[in-house]
């Protein structure tokens, strides 16, 4: 998650020179008493959670004895906000506050620039005082104009003696946000103590997902905005996306626990954000419950679409598989058809499938999908741009109703017998191996395989395929080999198999 907890945000501010209250983070109730002693006998304890109004929810407590601290820690570590269990509690010194300010650095999409929101009456209840908040433009190169800040402080009646320290604090907040590339950094409140010191008493930071790669120091595992802790499948999907930059792959599971499933639970495979949202509406209008959101778009590789389909189908209890994007895709749609066809064949697909493949080369895409899957137990149908999402969703309903109830829980991946056999030829590629059952090849088939593999394979002189290019040039050609595999299947000659085990799904690398 690209969100940081309060204590993490405060640590960043502190590194940049803004003072913070003395604090310790605990993860077990037993650590509460020693932490309290180290802080100095009295403390405020705060759950580390992404929730607003933490105090009203019992997530903030003032403690003065070891017993109180231990009890508070035990209570707090048993709490859950949304789908997030509380894992950390911050034990922090009490400070003597004279004044509270609300300071928030956010992004102003209209100005295409950072924007500082500042309210000198600060603190809680800021949501109800939106009009009182000063909006101060921030320059990416020059930061905040100190004179503007001083003007706001003066208007709020803050004595001039405090202005310098506050300007410095706000500069530090802006510099911190920029250094970690935050899409928002809120300090609510920024406090002025009775002794004149300025401290960040709370902090919330959200890092820009797209910049997380530049900030390994933040230790962000999954740069995705989700409303739940990442699931095992989401982690696997995220790793795939990080390893393969050909197109975009986004996968998020939706909450299905406690949701009443009427027409059935569905695996969803979208293409493009806007088209996906529209298509999800069409399936839910038919009464289905979506198990996930998934988007493969931006001209994704065949291998990426294959892996996405595998991940979708690794979810249990699905009764069908629905795919649809904008319907008028600029990308050539047969790449997606090849990827899905491979996944469905490996799993011996039993669930009904409807894929709307409208866009460039849609006729070829539909033909590949339907033809390559013709021998499977499931009914698998492809549609084109003139078939509306609503029509495709209705067709899907009909197929699910006609199905005799298999679910994805029963699906198992199988690989052909020649995979791993000494008689077969194997070529190591990124993420796995290409296996060729040379015993069942002949000159005619090998000639066709040369074409299907975009010239990566050639006849070795005896009618068997061999690599036509240097090994390193074949390494990244997973997609071309999958294309060849699916075409071999369509020709009724399954002599080539691309084994791309997915770490976490298929055990360790083969």
């Amino acid at each position: 998650m690209a969100r940081l907890h309060e204590y993490q945000g405060k640590a960043l501010l502190s590194q940049h020179g803004l003072a913070i209250p003395k604090g310790l983070v605990i993860t077990a109730a037993d650590d509460a008493a020693p932490s309290l002693a180290a802080i100095g006998g009295s403390a405020v304890m705060k759950v580390q959670a992404w929730v607003t109004g933490r105090k009203a929810l019992g997530g903030v407590r003032f403690v003065h004895t070891a017993e109180e601290a231990t009890r508070a820690a035990a209570d707090m570590l048993g709490m859950r906000f949304g789908l997030f269990p509380v894992q950390d509690v911050l034990v922090e010194e009490l400070v003597d506050i004279e004044r509270e300010l609300f300071v928030s650095l956010t992004i102003d999409d209209a100005a295409r620039a950072p924007l500082l929101l500042l309210d000198c009456a600060g603190g809680s209840g800021i949501e109800d005082r939106a009009s009182a908040v000063a909006r101060i433009p921030v320059s990416v190169t020059d930061g905040v104009d100190a004179d503007l800040l001083r003007g706001v402080f003066a208007d709020a009646g803050i004595e001039p003696g405090q202005h310098d320290a506050l300007v410095t604090a706000i500069d530090t907040i802006v510099a911190t946000a920029q250094s970690v590339e935050a899409r928002s950094l809120e300090v609510n409140p920024l406090v002025v103590l009775k002794d004149g010191r300025v401290l960040a008493a709370d902090c919330r930071v959200t890092i820009d997902d797209y910049a997380v790669f530049r900030h390994p120091e933040l230790g962000i595992e999954i740069a995705r905005e989700l409303d739940h802790p990442p699931t095992a499948l989401e982690r696997i999907a995220y790793d795939i996306e990080q390893a393969d930059h050909r197109g975009t792959f986004y996968f998020a599971q939706l909450p299905v626990e406690g949701v009443e499933v009427s027409s059935g639970l569905v695996g969803f495979h979208g293409a493009g954000g806007g088209g996906s949202m529209m298509s999800m509406d069409a399936v839910t209008n038919e009464g289905f419950t979506l198990a996930n959101f998934c988007d493969t778009s931006g001209n994704p590789s065949v291998a990426k679409v294959y892996r996405a389909a595998r991940i979708i189908l690794a979810q249990p209890s699905l009764q069908g598989y629905f795919g649809s994007g904008s319907g008028v895709a600029s990308q050539e749609q047969f790449h997606s058809a090849y990827g899905m066809a491979k996944a469905f064949n490996e799993l011996g697909m039993t669930l009904p499938v409807v894929i709307r493949l409208g866009g460039n080369a849609e006729d070829r895409a539909v033909e590949i999908l339907e033809d390559a899957c013709a021998g499977l137990p499931a009914t698998i149908e492809g549609y084109r741009k003139d078939d509306t999402p609503a029509f495709c969703a209705k067709r899907f309903t009909a197929l699910v109703e006609a199905s005799d109830g298999p679910t994805s829980s029963d699906l198992q991946r199988s690989v052909p017998a020649f995979v791993g056999s000494a008689a077969a030829t194997s070529i190591a590629i990124d993420g796995g191996h290409v296996w060729i059952d040379t015993e069942h090849c002949d000159a005619d088939l090998t000639g066709r395989m040369a074409g299907w593999s975009s010239g990566l394979l050639e006849d070795d002189g005896s009618g068997c395929p061999q690599l036509a290019v240097a090994l390193e040039d074949a390494q990244a050609a997973d997609s071309e080999f999958i294309t060849c595999e699916v075409e071999c299947l369509r020709a009724g000659r399954p002599v080539l198999f691309v084994d791309l085990p997915i770490a976490g799904l298929d055990g360790e690398d083969a």
């Binding site: 797209y210 998020a252 600029s330």
Partner: protein, 309 residues
Amino acid sequence: MAIIIDETKAVCVQGITGREGRARAKLMRQFGTNVVGGCTPGKGGQDVEGVPVYDTVKEVVDAAGGVDVSVVFVPARLVKSAAIEAIEAGVKLIMLVPDRVPLWDAMAIAEVAAAHGAEFIGPNTLGVISPGRAVLGMIGGRAESAKQWFNEPIAGRTVGVISRSGGMSSSCGYYLSRAGLGVSTICHVGGDSVLGLTFPEVALKFQDDAETDAIVLFGEIGGSMEERLAALMASGQVTKPVIAYIGGKAAKEGTRFSHAGAIIEGNRGTHAGKVEALRQAGATVVESFGDLPAAACAALGVQVPKQEH
């Protein structure tokens, strides 16, 4: 006429020797775009599909005697330096195609562009297409598909399309064309939070375009561009009919469905707020995407053809 791109504009392709740059330069030319040169540092002197390659944008500008638009196809982390290079070489319109450009990079580009009086489109844009004229980026894919999908302008019944979704920009163009309408230009502004041209700026260009009779929007939750366009309509700066669909009605606050810009934060950028603002300003907002073509026909006083499925 058309907005943003037509066959007369001199276009440079940055990153022309890469996978996407190479493929798209070819497709743009096939559709009619005047691609005058491309660049990749260290690859000067090469030739990609008949387009001369230089090391820098400046060299393309000098060799071609000026560049109107530079289209950037480089990895996301290099987009900032590529865009700034083009702006500093004097190019006044930059298109940023890549996805995943860091937000602070986009804001840095915006600051440099503003200082130089330059505009940019994107990041994360599929492109802009003016049917019958020229295309920027990768909208429409193959030239023959794009020619088949999108009608050229038709007097009295021509729409301009602005979309926050790439795929849906093509969809809008296709279904509006099937309904018998002409299309002046389709502009995908991009899916990110911070973008160059947004709905208000593009709508003002359509307002000034004699060929465009109405403006069709594919909006989304998040951000403020639908509300800002509504304000332009309310103040009388955009007077052409506006027909809109806003996606993401079912999306929950704080969960992102692909587009970085399509996220509701607090009470900003909600579906209801956008629909209300546009309706108040006089726009037609349809509840279902499938109703968009008929609503556009109605706004233009054109009979709606019968549709199958």
